[in-house]
Symmetry: D2
Amino acid sequence: MGKQRHTGADLDPSFASDNVAGISPEILDAVERANHGSALPYGADAESTQLQQWAQQEFGPQAEIYPVFNGTGANVVALQAVLPRWGAAICSAQAHVNNDEGAAPERLGAMKLLPRPSSEGKLAPEDITEELGVQGFVHAAQPLAVTVTQSTELGTVYTPDEIRSIADVAHAAGLAVHVDGSRLSNAAAALDCSLADTTAACGVDILSLGATKNGALAAEAVVVVNPERVAGADYIRKFSMQLASKQRFLSAQLLALFGTDLWHRHATHANEMAALLAERLRQVPGVKVNPPSVNAVFPEVPTEVAERIQSRYLAHTWDTSASGQPVLRLMCSFATTGEEIDRLIAVAAGT
Amino acid sequence: MGKQRHTGADLDPSFASDNVAGISPEILDAVERANHGSALPYGADAESTQLQQWAQQEFGPQAEIYPVFNGTGANVVALQAVLPRWGAAICSAQAHVNNDEGAAPERLGAMKLLPRPSSEGKLAPEDITEELGVQGFVHAAQPLAVTVTQSTELGTVYTPDEIRSIADVAHAAGLAVHVDGSRLSNAAAALDCSLADTTAACGVDILSLGATKNGALAAEAVVVVNPERVAGADYIRKFSMQLASKQRFLSAQLLALFGTDLWHRHATHANEMAALLAERLRQVPGVKVNPPSVNAVFPEVPTEVAERIQSRYLAHTWDTSASGQPVLRLMCSFATTGEEIDRLIAVAAGT
Amino acid sequence: MGKQRHTGADLDPSFASDNVAGISPEILDAVERANHGSALPYGADAESTQLQQWAQQEFGPQAEIYPVFNGTGANVVALQAVLPRWGAAICSAQAHVNNDEGAAPERLGAMKLLPRPSSEGKLAPEDITEELGVQGFVHAAQPLAVTVTQSTELGTVYTPDEIRSIADVAHAAGLAVHVDGSRLSNAAAALDCSLADTTAACGVDILSLGATKNGALAAEAVVVVNPERVAGADYIRKFSMQLASKQRFLSAQLLALFGTDLWHRHATHANEMAALLAERLRQVPGVKVNPPSVNAVFPEVPTEVAERIQSRYLAHTWDTSASGQPVLRLMCSFATTGEEIDRLIAVAAGT
Amino acid sequence: MGKQRHTGADLDPSFASDNVAGISPEILDAVERANHGSALPYGADAESTQLQQWAQQEFGPQAEIYPVFNGTGANVVALQAVLPRWGAAICSAQAHVNNDEGAAPERLGAMKLLPRPSSEGKLAPEDITEELGVQGFVHAAQPLAVTVTQSTELGTVYTPDEIRSIADVAHAAGLAVHVDGSRLSNAAAALDCSLADTTAACGVDILSLGATKNGALAAEAVVVVNPERVAGADYIRKFSMQLASKQRFLSAQLLALFGTDLWHRHATHANEMAALLAERLRQVPGVKVNPPSVNAVFPEVPTEVAERIQSRYLAHTWDTSASGQPVLRLMCSFATTGEEIDRLIAVAAGT
């Protein structure tokens, strides 16, 4: 499976990832509005207080929210907060925590990941069951958490029922449930549900809530949904170097996105642009592509189409199809425009 | 020595720290200007390229700069990059790395700190010499780096000669030299020298370059001055969860501050406001205060003055003087105004 | 795949593992002989000096040997000594380091393991090649070492050529090569070669040399074969809590085993007993079993045979065969006797 | 303060430390007696069961005992078992955990130590109180355990009342209490009390129980006195690489020492030899020496006496007296003989 490398500095990055987009104007406005006078640092500010209120409204009165800088930070803070020193986390082999965080979970969290093969990036309840055999076996890292990505690294989406099934099995065996929600907005928009519907309502204990890929400058949050399964989140955020001094500006970004319907509008736009992109690509001769679930499109393209695209665009060869053709990954964001799609299609079609 | 606690949410935070200030308008403008179109993530963007050029101009053609999110991140990335698994870092007992980073150096960097008592927060060459007795002793953590804070946590400043003396002793014994430059701007402004004059020019190998306390939203950088003593900084930044996806916005902040004379203007203002604050405080009956070296003022005040101030302001009792009176810490920033000082003095004087 | 659990305290443990055996009389004699007068601790003793000489004779004049307490300790010290902070180690998914060390590599060594599926516990050169795609990719843990187990956890043996092929690919890509030689003696005896023939002579850089399973009380060693690829082994052993104060008694055990032909005699005996056990089991109706390569026998047995054996013996159900029958793991040691085999066969046959 | 270095391989090591002694004959006999037949590994053996019974008799019915390989292992396992990820341990600046464990607590346990200056190696209740100011302060490592060494690295002994006072203050503030009992036998013998009298009876929660320095080959134990303050000791021992496969031989050593009065006889002998050594040294002209509390003697000697001793013996210069004379550290063990003392005195006296 292909790895994202940023070598082609002269290539158009527009479809390389959803993090190539800039800052949503509404979010930047919110940062500016928060920029007046002095404010207590480290979260004792008005915006952070308001964000905490939002989190309780969305995820339940017991919820706690801890803004952090980036997604890896959110994941590793959250997993440390649900795992004792001897704990391990079950994840998909395709998970970002497993492949793309420089081994931060292992190095900084001193935890073992227990990756499970999966064709579509999704775990199933059986994945948990099959790891439970070592419970109580002192020689093995103890599976005490499961982490699922919503939407997944492969552009798939768990239904609320699927999350609930995983959570039920996990809880029955004493495991905590974490969602890597780096793209939770895209999933919720695709499912036409709230952020809580696919997390708190399904038994999720702790959540990495992503904002950067959906229009923020740099802001994510750890949301503790179930404080009874979580310990020391505030201390862990601090020593994990994810506590911002001027936290008001992180909270302002998160509020602008989640305290309004902006998250939904942005995610819906990104998903729709991906649907449009897939539809247009399907009309290019030789291209096969499934309708995307969220904002990632994985077209199987003839080699010459791949070459045309990759001569102009940074576009990752994600896989090779059964018939030997390259499968690209193209991503849309809140900022993707129809004109950008037009240009990509023209390049792909060689017109 | 007093600890900063943020309990008084109804108190005026204006002098509690230099991180209570917001974002410098010039820096926020720069973020806005960087917010156009798509850009490659993780540093492969135009602003980051330009920042790298600036770093080479300032710190030498071999210099490398790695933007990070916060000061703890910068320090722990930098120290990991100069220490092998068995290394330890000599620091002042008053150092931020020792007291205020939640043990991130120990927990995430797996390093031991070797704190040295110091009355003014400054190390001397003898502090290094006295730790060298364990070199080669397999039972002891090996002192392989020294970290000094410029300006220090106690508001003092190393002269270039003092840094150079430390670096000479350190290098002669095989240790790398790190500067925690969270407030390097204030020190350089006070010394009337460039950022490099008190770091690269004095033999410093690696540097945490602070911007947040001098007007940024959230941006610091690790500057590798001497790549021969540093290994793996890019990998270490990544797994230390300090690599921003939309790095252009961190680089834009750093460029706005350091690529112009803004850092100098802001730091000079903060230092001058502190000098003014000290001068005005000295006129309050019973108050004793030394002229500040940079932007921190440590007045010894009668108990009733402390009570008046602390009934209205978040102001940390930093210490108790020899005569039993409270010593407060008051800090000025790039945003401190004369009116704010007037108000504080009126409260202090009980007028 | 079955996990070894020690719940049946009333069951006969004789075939449960090779670590159920006691201490070889020759080794215990050597401990007694070393027990006279005072000796410098931590390796500055006569036995340790003699052991170092042996290591140089066996593995080359540049070799260094570091006695440790147990196999996990040897592996985690060795891997830390060849990996920088950002390094990862490629291993078989069946490897002891991956499954049976309580995640010590991740927790204490802060390293990621990159497990590769394998049917027989053996890595192939392609396993390395396929992990190299992330070299230089800052988001991924960097594969900088490969660890192979000789003989493997599945009772298979690498030929010297197989090790050499792996080492060649690894070295060409800049990776260090580690052998987990917890049962190296059994492999060397089976291959009819020296300990170095299948390690140092094949390009192995560092080695965990096992003695406990071959008759020692508690003694293993890290052997640095190629000091140019290894750093800080002495400091790493110390902080990894594997430096014995009365090291003379560890060195005495290792010398008694490896400084004579005792390792070969013991390992040959264990291997031969396993061959005999397999031959005898094959005569029990319904049992299928391959001739063992070393001292582990994996018979596929009818369910009633498994029940008879497991009613009397601690015998791990290792797997289920394609035809649905249990596959047991039975191990022989230097101390296994023909009478013990007779008794086991009688139980298995229900006679 | 002097550091123990083992460079003089041609010097007599007899008084360099109590770990220069060999194995007590009774303990070696016990190892031999345990060496019959097969036994389940990892603690499911008869000797380990018997050891657990002894621990309950000595330390209370709730006690648990976990044999480990060495003292650093015992300390770091114990401290991990009482500290969450964000915890720190208060210790004497002279503590073995702080100076002589290669930073294993920080590197492997990810904990910060909070060292307190102390003239005699002993903590006082005020040492705890003074560290409590940061409780709840998210920027500081949280003091959640205190560790005291009994007898101390400076040869002093806590009275049971002193331990109790520390434990009371610690418990009132929510801290767990650990004793590094590497030389607990010497302290208990000197105090004429049981092992529990100065630990469990004083509120100690967890204990490193030393045997190696008092005659074992290599055996220590973590004793959990109060399971309510301890979590995961078995998993932590495993991933800390301190779980022996042939544990019966560690348990046999511990039983031989502690299950009889051997610990008391050996420790009393060592203490008496130290008293004799001090008395004899006092008769050497110019030598000043306090009566030792346990088995360590710290004579202040004229320079020429030091030179005579150190030309023949490995004897550490521990300190320099107020009058500028060297202070040596000389240690006696269970194996020290009167003849050895005669020889040392003859050398010291130059006769």
